[in-house]
């Protein structure tokens, strides 16, 4: 590692990327660190990686704490390895909003892939930054993809914003539920039901599995046929779910909402429920098959390409937002920071709207000048 200030990061990045493409684990690990740290030159690094990406199946796994995500990921990774595929895992754990510190414990469960370097397991902390999770994770996925991993598993706790991020990053979203996780009202509240392509009822050797499965089935049925429980002879009800975001069922062909189970010929995906016992590995083969089915569906229906385009569109927007933010921040600093302005507002010398207008004016002028030429 060179510490010389005058070596440009381009040179180092070129070397790092060529080492990564050559299959060096150390280089891959270092690239992910740079991505996580937003180190100088990380953008150049990702730009270099981009052309090598687009080959991996990306599977997101989310669920409440203690549902068995890490254990299941371990078993799924093992199954892929037995089939001769290489696997990358990114496990996201929360970080302390006070100190920024974190204990990343998902690695403890990776017992089946001990000493197997072809399972590249990386823990990431959420680092408490809104939106930071999605960009850093998505970029880390690119690094694993460029490295040549066949399957990439992203594991994240489902407790707020994160599971929406996982939808943007993953091709297939798996939602983990454990028996006895509350009544059906909890399921209504949870908000994670809209995003799942595959639902896994883990700990299927516990009491209450059948009930949980039944409740899930009902929820999925309602989700696909919003009018199903209304029992009216009228089928004009449009699905209110954002298509694509929800895993993209090309649903609502319109007819027979009450008893149509989606048996028309067009490629279509009905969320599937799989029962597993992650600790023993029961049901894991079935889950892997289901994931493969979903991958086939994505290819056959053209959804994979469409999802990728949506993903990149969102990524461009997000980058622009954060860069525009930086521009505004720099302009703010040039004016002595926000504190002085806030004091002026508090003293009734000016008001927030006037301040914002004043700071944005030079930027706006630049943009408008461009428009006119």
């Amino acid at each position: 590692m060179s510490h010389a200030e005058d070596t440009t990061y381009e040179d180092r990045n070129r070397e790092l990327v060529s080492d990564l493409l050559a299959g060096e684990h150390r280089a891959l690990a270092r690239v992910i660190t740079k991505i996580e740290n937003r180190s100088p030159g990380y953008r150049d690094l990702i730009s270099r990686l981009h052309e090598h990406t687009g080959h991996a199946d990306v599977v997101g796994i989310t669920g409440s704490p203690g549902a068995g995500k890490s254990t299941l990921v371990d078993k799924v990774a093992k199954t892929y390895r037995d089939a001769g595929l290489t696997v990358g895992v990114i496990a996201v754990d929360p970080s302390s909003p006070y100190t920024g510190g974190a204990v990343l414990g998902d690695r403890i469960r990776m017992a089946s892939n001990v000493g197997d370097m072809d399972v590249f397991f990386r823990s990431m902390s959420a680092r408490g930054q809104l939106g930071g999770l999605s960009t850093a994770t998505a970029d880390a996925v690119k690094a694993l993809d460029a490295f040549g991993k066949d399957v990439i598993l992203i594991e994240t706790v489902g407790a707020g914003q994160n599971e929406i991020d996982i939808v943007r990053t993953a091709d297939t979203v798996t939602v983990l539920v454990q028996p006895g996780s509350g009544d059906d009202v909890q399921m209504l509240k949870a908000g994670i039901l809209e995003i799942g392509d595959v639902f896994v009822v883990n700990k299927a050797d516990m009491d209450g599995v059948n009930r949980t499965v039944a409740e899930l089935e009902e929820m999925i049925h309602l989700r696909d046929n919003p009018g199903a429980n209304l029992d009216v002879g009228h089928h004009g009800v449009d699905t209110s779910l954002p298509e694509g975001v929800s895993g993209g069922n090309g649903r609502d062909h319109g007819d027979d909402a009450a008893d149509d189970d989606g048996d028309d010929d067009a490629p279509d995906w009905k969320p599937t429920i799989v029962e597993t016992v992650a600790t023993t590995g029961d049901g894991v083969d079935e889950l892997v098959e289901t994931l493969a089915d979903h991958a086939d569906y994505l290819d056959d229906s053209g959804m994979r390409a469409e999802k990728a385009r949506m993903r990149y569109a969102e990524e461009i927007r997000q980058l622009l937002r954060s860069d525009a933010n930086e521009l505004v921040k720099a302009e703010l600093d040039r004016r002595g920071g926000v504190d002085g302005l806030a004091a002026a507002v508090a003293d009734r010398e000016t008001d927030p709207y006037a301040v914002a207008e004043e700071i944005l004016e030079p930027i706006r002028e630049c943009v408008e000048d461009r428009d006119e030429t």
Partner: protein
């Protein structure tokens, strides 16, 4: 795509791997250290119990940690630590990883461990502050 923008978003955290290696089931110390490091603002990957040296190497390389803290109370440090260090060297991860050992290590073994590449050995009763400060001072400066 200016370097300025990059710098503005930079957020570096010290990453540590707290590792229990070999047939040593005493993990209270490792837990306490993991938690203290977390509270100091570090990102701590915990290995879990009974890990083989290979697993520790795998974890240290993949997680790209700045600091590897090996907790051994079984007295097997003279066999286990060299294996870990050799593994790190194999993957080119030895040079810029700060290696610490915590636990029961007789004085006469300390010099040998340090010669191997262990930066410091922390025995029982070491104040937490001292360990954290040592990590802050000595964590490798990468890029």
């Amino acid at each position: 795509m200016s370097a300025d923008t990059d710098r503005g978003q930079q957020q570096r955290n010290i990453r540590c791997l707290i590792a229990k290696v070999g047939l040593d089931g005493h993990d209270r110390g490792a837990h306490v250290i993991a938690r203290a490091f977390r509270d100091a603002g570090f990102e701590v990957v915990y290995s879990g119990l009974h890990r083989a040296p290979d697993e520790i190497v795998q974890a240290a390389v993949q997680e790209d940690v700045d600091v590897l803290g090996i907790s051994i109370l079984s007295g097997a440090h003279n066999t286990l630590v060299p294996k870990i260090i050799d593994g790190l060297k194999e993957y080119g991860a030895f040079e810029d990883t700060l290696i610490l050992v915590g636990g029961i290590v007789p004085d006469e073994d300390r010099a040998e461990l340090k010669e191997m590449g262990v930066s410091e050995v922390f025995g029982p009763g070491t104040p937490m502050k001292e360990t954290i400060e040592f990590v802050r001072q000595n964590a490798p400066d990468r890029d």
